[in-house]
């Protein structure tokens, strides 16, 4: 018959122990590079971004415009049927105001980031992107926004060809 554990193993080290090499350790710095083929759906999507347009794929079985576009529908599991241009306006579904960069380093000018659902795609289908021309007091879920595109010559076929989404102005399409 066994017994309830009484002793809990593990030897704690401090950051100082490690950085000042008070413990025996080894180090390694990987250098890995990747280049990805963007594939069928994303190649067209990225090339359209270069032209200042957003494009989705229609699934005629589900009667949906899927965005970001994809060559098959995960729900009915049939190939999607055709390319459909959608608008560059949409609605903020959620957002964050980040004081951290990608390595968890603190930054003073916060990044406004969130999910924007795009007009012309099926309900609540969108992408993650930055928001600009907003403050922490003006940004809100449900805010109508529009893409701020980079100038054509600066576009590279990247999600960053949109600089950010900004508030939609009155009367603007």
């Amino acid at each position: 018959m066994g017994q309830t554990p009484q002793k809990w193993p593990g030897i704690e080290l401090s950051n100082d122990d490690l950085l000042n090499k008070k413990v025996t350790q080894t180090r390694y710095h990987p250098r890995a590079k990747f280049s990805w083929s963007a594939g069928e759906a994303m190649s067209r999507f990225l090339n359209e971004l270069k032209e200042g347009r957003l494009i989705g794929r229609e699934c005629k079985h589900c009667n949906k415009i899927l965005f970001p576009p994809r060559m098959f529908c995960e729900q009915c599991f049939k190939p999607t049927s055709k390319w459909v241009y959608i608008k560059d306006t949409g609605t903020i579904q959620t957002y964050s105001i980040s004081y951290l960069d990608k390595d968890a380093k603190r930054i003073t000018n916060p990044i406004y980031v969130g999910v924007v659902s795009i007009d012309g795609a099926s309900e609540k289908m969108g992408i993650m992107h930055y928001f600009g021309e907003v403050t922490k007091d003006t940004i809100h879920i449900g805010m109508k926004v529009k893409a701020k595109w980079k100038p054509p010559l600066e576009r590279t076929g990247s999600i960053l060809d949109i600089e950010y989404f900004r508030p939609l102005k009155e009367g603007e399409q």
Partner: protein, 387 residues
């Protein structure tokens, strides 16, 4: 399918940085689990391990790298990985090894050592994002939680004060856990609300810490339970798992539908049709305070938007009607991703077998549920355990 019980468990301290290597941590936790079950490695038919991204250790094939520490030498062995869901899913894998009749006794060993990754494990989390749609935006993993938390708060009009109550409860519960990294007997809601804003609405004390640690379980068939004369087996009553769309920007983040589907699968197996009445306590996965609430709703223990109200009313305190995270959870004990099995499945085992010591829920408990959540906001693993 055969009945399966947990008959022993072990775990190491959870700390920001531990001296031991992954395999040394695995050995410590595994040895404890074997001793607590009163068996030796020769009695074990199969070994399952779980660990999160290889990038933390900088060693690919991590499952092979630490396998000897799991007691895998010369035995059927596999590693499972479903992101943060691994903390519960590897026990589900142990369950089907035995339920299927392939094994009579199985070891399940989960390990995580996040401290090796310099300067911060966040740099590795960056590589879980989609390379075309997300990564050019240089995302931080905390963004995911911030965006989900904001959507959840806004849809249900939840105040941050009510969410902070979860961090306070769990960090206080953790005072009674011998392995805890961030226990705090005096923490208040104001401490949480005044802590550094990292990615609004997420503040520093809303988050569990990165940790090193390992945890292990011994699982056994009904035959083995009888043969070994186990006095306090805790049965796996139901299990479920589910993945949602990988297109996470196409989903409404306010409710984890995939958790609900996994929970329904587990409840059906456990013959539970009214979880709020039939579940006595829960260990919802709590890497962030709002996630406990989100998961209580996904586990159908609260109606949508009602988990914060239950928390405010004290229902989820250790002596409440539905204690949640009596262990102290990830928020209080620590978050070594896959090794959180020790405060999820492990806590259900220790509570239901009456071995939780100072953490023991003061009233009678017969059935508990836990979940773990992972990948990029779409993986749910659920287990119902009982006596």
């Amino acid at each position: 399918m055969r009945k399966v019980a947990v008959i022993g468990a072990g775990m190491t301290l959870f700390r920001r940085r531990l001296m031991e290597t992954p395999k040394e941590l695995c050995f410590e936790a595994t040895r404890m689990a074997l001793d607590s079950a009163g068996i030796e490695l020769k009695d074990v038919d199969a070994v399952i391990s779980g660990s999160a991204p290889d990038g933390f250790d900088g060693v690919h094939m991590k499952g092979e790298y630490y396998s000897d520490g799991c007691g895998a030498y010369g035995k059927p062995y596999m590693r499972v990985f479903v992101g943060g869901g691994t903390g519960v899913f590897s026990a589900i894998s142990g369950w089907y090894h035995i339920a299927s009749g392939l094994a009579d006794i199985a070891l399940v060993v989960n390990e995580e050592k996040m401290s090796s990754c310099q300067p911060h494990p966040q740099s590795v989390f960056a590589h879980i994002w989609d390379p075309i749609l997300d990564r050019p935006l240089k995302p931080n993993l905390i963004w995911i939680f911030a965006m989900e938390m904001n959507r959840y708060m806004t849809v249900h009009k939840i105040k941050k004060e009510d969410i902070a109550l979860v961090a306070v409860k769990n960090k206080r519960n953790a005072v009674d856990h011998p392995c805890a990294q961030l226990a705090d007997p005096n923490i208040t809601v104001d401490d949480v609300l005044n802590s550094e804003v990292l990615a609004w609405p997420v503040q520093r004390l809303d988050i569990s810490p990165p940790s090193d640690g390992a945890a292990a379980l011994v699982m056994a068939s009904e035959d083995a339970v009888k043969r070994l004369h186990v006095e306090t087996p805790v049965w796996m009553k139901g299990v479920g798992w589910c993945i949602d769309s990988t297109m996470w920007t196409d989903r409404d983040l306010y409710f984890p539908e995939y958790v609900a589907r996994a929970a329904k699968m587990a409840y059906k197996m456990a013959k539970i049709d009214n979880p709020r009445k039939q579940i006595d306590f829960a260990e919802p996965y709590d890497p962030f305070d709002y996630k406990e609430l989100h998961h209580m709703e996904g586990l159908l223990l609260a109606k949508k938007g009602e988990a914060p109200i239950m928390t405010r009313e004290g229902v989820t305190q250790r002596d409440g009607d539905l204690p949640t995270c009596p262990s102290g959870g990830l928020l209080g004990v620590g978050n070594p991703i896959a090794a959180t099995m020790g405060v999820k499945i492990g806590e259900l085992y220790w509570q239901l077998s009456g071995q939780a010591g100072k953490r023991q829920i003061p009233h009678e408990i017969k059935t508990g549920v836990t979940n773990a959540w992972g990948d990029l906001m779409q993986y749910g693993a659920v287990a119902v355990m009982g006596v």
